[in-house]
Symmetry: C2
Subunit: 467 residues, 2 copies
């Protein structure tokens, strides 16, 4: 826009703006300079978060729920959180079924013999080691499968396609993730012998996206896998040739009852033990294909790092409780266990970081209505990080959801998800996908949030003895 045009617009619009402003000009909210100092220190210098996620992904790696790897992760977590000076570090265990992956392959038998890259979905039914062979029947959406007559599906291997594209708020995952969550059940009920889906992802790499599905409504478990996006597109091209396509599918997996998981809990004790607490965290478990760097190594790292920055500044009025939830991926079991044990305790806020490591771009909170002054302070404290308030936002975070349902006020610090589904649940969820500068911005945002809601931090106040 050139200067002349801009000036013209300005002068034309000015009287109306001025008139409106006189009646509606809000009182300014000045951000607390102590909050700003803490936030900016984290933004410039945080290393806690990187150290946690680098350490966990390197020294433990993948940590599938209820496996011995997740147990090693809990031990690692207790050691690390204790070394960081948190109080009351402990594990709250629970039991659950354990599902593990075995041999996997997908092969086009005819008309064009070739291997495709596949990974079983969580809690898939298992084939024998010999696998199954069946004709592919194509659906471009879950609804198309739903609408199909049973005899179009019976005895075949269902293939469901989709058209998910990247979105900053990740909003495609709900709709386009349905083939993964519900496809196996619907295919099974219609008599399919197996199902393969286009990975719920936005990349073009030969790395399939796994993820949870459950067989419901009495559906018999059938083998269920995700083809990588390039392989799904290859299968579409093969199908477009118009000949019957036969696939040999091997998806071996094991499922057993009585697996062990647990939540790891750590606290920054508040000066007022009776004040409602601030609950923050992420989930410690991961899928087994990558090392769980962005899902959710960064979430646990960001929230613990923020709590540590508060600890570095002194002692908050409110207790900050950091929870590294177990077994989120199979359906938020850690979050449910936490709410069962602690849902009736008074929480001043509950927030989870579980959407990668890219920058926080907006936030929303129930406090908008229940505590407008705090909401205004949060808005002021987060704005310098480029974070906008989202008055229409909703609670987010599988693990904190049961606690929120039990009454805890929620806050969502929403990360930019544009790249998230390139790596989510794939072998590519590894440390190198984390941008350290954006990671620090996350830590700064959570630090600012905790500082605003801390009830005041008393510098120099001694931390109490560890319980």
């Amino acid at each position: 826009m050139n200067r002349t045009l801009l000036a013209a617009l300005f002068f034309t619009a000015a009287p109306a703006i001025a008139q409106q402003s006189i009646t509606t000009l809000p009182q300014p909210v000045v951000g607390d300079p102590r909050v700003a100092a803490l936030r900016d220190e984290a933004l410039a210098n945080d290393h806690y978060a990187w150290d946690i996620v680098e350490g966990l992904t390197t020294e433990v790696g993948q940590r599938l729920a209820a496996t011995e790897a997740e147990a090693r992760a809990r031990d690692w977590a207790v050691k690390r959180l204790t070394a960081m000076g948190f109080a009351n570090v402990h594990i709250e265990p629970f039991t659950m079924p354990v599902w593990t992956r075995g041999a996997e392959s997908a092969e086009i038998v005819s008309p064009f013999p070739q291997k495709l890259a596949i990974a079983a979905l969580g809690y898939s039914g298992s084939t024998t080691a010999a696998g199954i062979t069946g004709q592919i029947v194509y659906f471009d959406s879950l609804d198309a499968l739903r609408a199909a007559p049973d005899n179009a599906v019976r005895g075949k291997i269902v293939f469901i396609d989709h058209h998910m594209m990247p979105a900053q708020d990740g909003s495609g995952y709900g709709q386009f993730g349905a083939p993964r969550r519900q496809g196996p059940t619907i295919a099974s009920l219609k008599g399919a012998i197996g199902i393969v889906i286009r990975s719920i992802g936005t990349d073009h790499h030969r790395n399939p996206h796994t993820g949870i599905q459950y067989f419901t409504d009495g559906a018999k478990p059938i083998p269920a896998g995700a083809l990588s996006v390039p392989d799904a597109e290859q299968l579409v091209r093969i199908l477009e040739r118009g000949q019957p396509v036969v696939m040999h599918l091997t998806l071996v997996s094991q499922k057993a009852e009585g697996g062990h998981s647990g939540n790891v809990i750590a606290e920054v004790p508040g000066r007022d033990a009776k004040a409602p607490i601030l609950l923050v965290g992420g989930h410690l478990d991961s899928w087994d294909l990558g090392t769980g760097a962005i899902d959710d190594g960064t979430g646990i790292a960001i929230t613990a790092a923020a709590a540590r920055h508060i600890m570095d500044a002194g002692r908050p009025l409110r207790t900050i409780r950091v929870v590294w939830f177990g077994a989120e991926e199979p359906g938020g079991l850690g979050g449910k266990a936490y709410a069962a044990a602690h849902g009736k305790e008074a929480h001043a806020i509950a927030g989870e970081s579980d959407f990668g490591a890219d920058r926080v771009w907006r936030f929303s909170s129930q406090l908008m209505k229940s505590d407008p002054a705090a909401y205004a302070q949060l808005t002021a404290a987060l704005a310098p990080l480029g974070i906008t308030k989202n008055d229409k936002g909703e609670a987010d975070g599988t693990d904190v959801e049961p606690t929120i349902t039990a009454g805890a006020p929620w806050i969502s610090l929403s990360q930019d998800g544009t790249r998230y589904f390139d790596w989510h649940h794939t072998p590519d969820d590894t440390l190198d996908k984390i941008d350290p500068a954006q990671l620090r911005q996350n830590v700064a945002a959570w630090t600012a949030m905790l500082a605003v809601l801390s009830g005041g931090i008393e510098p120099g106040a001694k931390q109490p003895k560890r319980r």
Copy 2:
């Protein structure tokens, strides 16, 4: 730069430029408008190349040298080239050893148990199904391994790192590829029980880059694999903890003598059967991890498409011979077989496309010295495609090298390799990596080159009967 400054520079510099120009102004080379028309038609509308690479990668997929998949690719090639109207379409077979991949895995046993993504290098030694276990010994370069005393290596698994970065001309591949080519031999001669290298690649995906290596100097074959780049970096981080790192390595493979490969040959017969021919092509075989889209599905597609554009325009004076070489990846066996059979025939030019599908950005040719007028015509014909002449360029293309050594003049149409080593020799070498617009630019460049060197195309001249 603003207008005033530009004007000032222009007027200041003008007298000197004018003075120099009076003595050195070269005669303009006006591009042949018939060549330009052919080139621009290919740039705007080519579909031959996409159809070939889409067809081959979809209907055959990977086509490892000397396997039945490569044989299927030859059959596909004969059918396709015949359907495209080429004459004298035939296979020239040869025999060679055949190497195929079996079960593969790499696992850190201690201190931090986890799986790493690995793929065997071509002609790796084989482990048993039970694999081997050994301590990792780290080298940051091939030279560091060379300098190491044998007793630092004996009985261990060597790990060689490197620091390759993307480059437009792909120049890092020579130097940084050395660990792959020579590392296994050197490690074996020093008594290592196995070797893993950081993939010779510039990406950060969990897809290892395979590639050829040979055991020379009497070295006993040992298992040799490439870790994906993220896994190599993970191994470095694990090693940095300072504890001994033990790896369990399974790299099963089979090697047998008496495999069959072959070159597929097709021609656009020239009006003068005795005129030296124009040889163009790429290689039909691929590594087995991807579908060989950019290595070298596009190379055979581009060169055949260009020849077909000439055919569409009429009949060239010179015969154009398109060769889809077999077994390039294991060491240019097809190129050697071609030179043995045809190296003494008179070639007017020999050129190969084997560096992906991104745009041609410069060219070079022996004609610069042997036929400056043709070189000037080529320069003029290629410039509108953004292709610059490179007076210091060299012959390129493993398959045409033996024919060039036998006396054929060479031409190199160099593709932009900035992204090439992200996908080269990985599972990610698939159709989706091809940019159709850049593919058409390649076809336009090769069409222009063939048109300039064709000796003249007679429109409407009948193609001769197929031999």
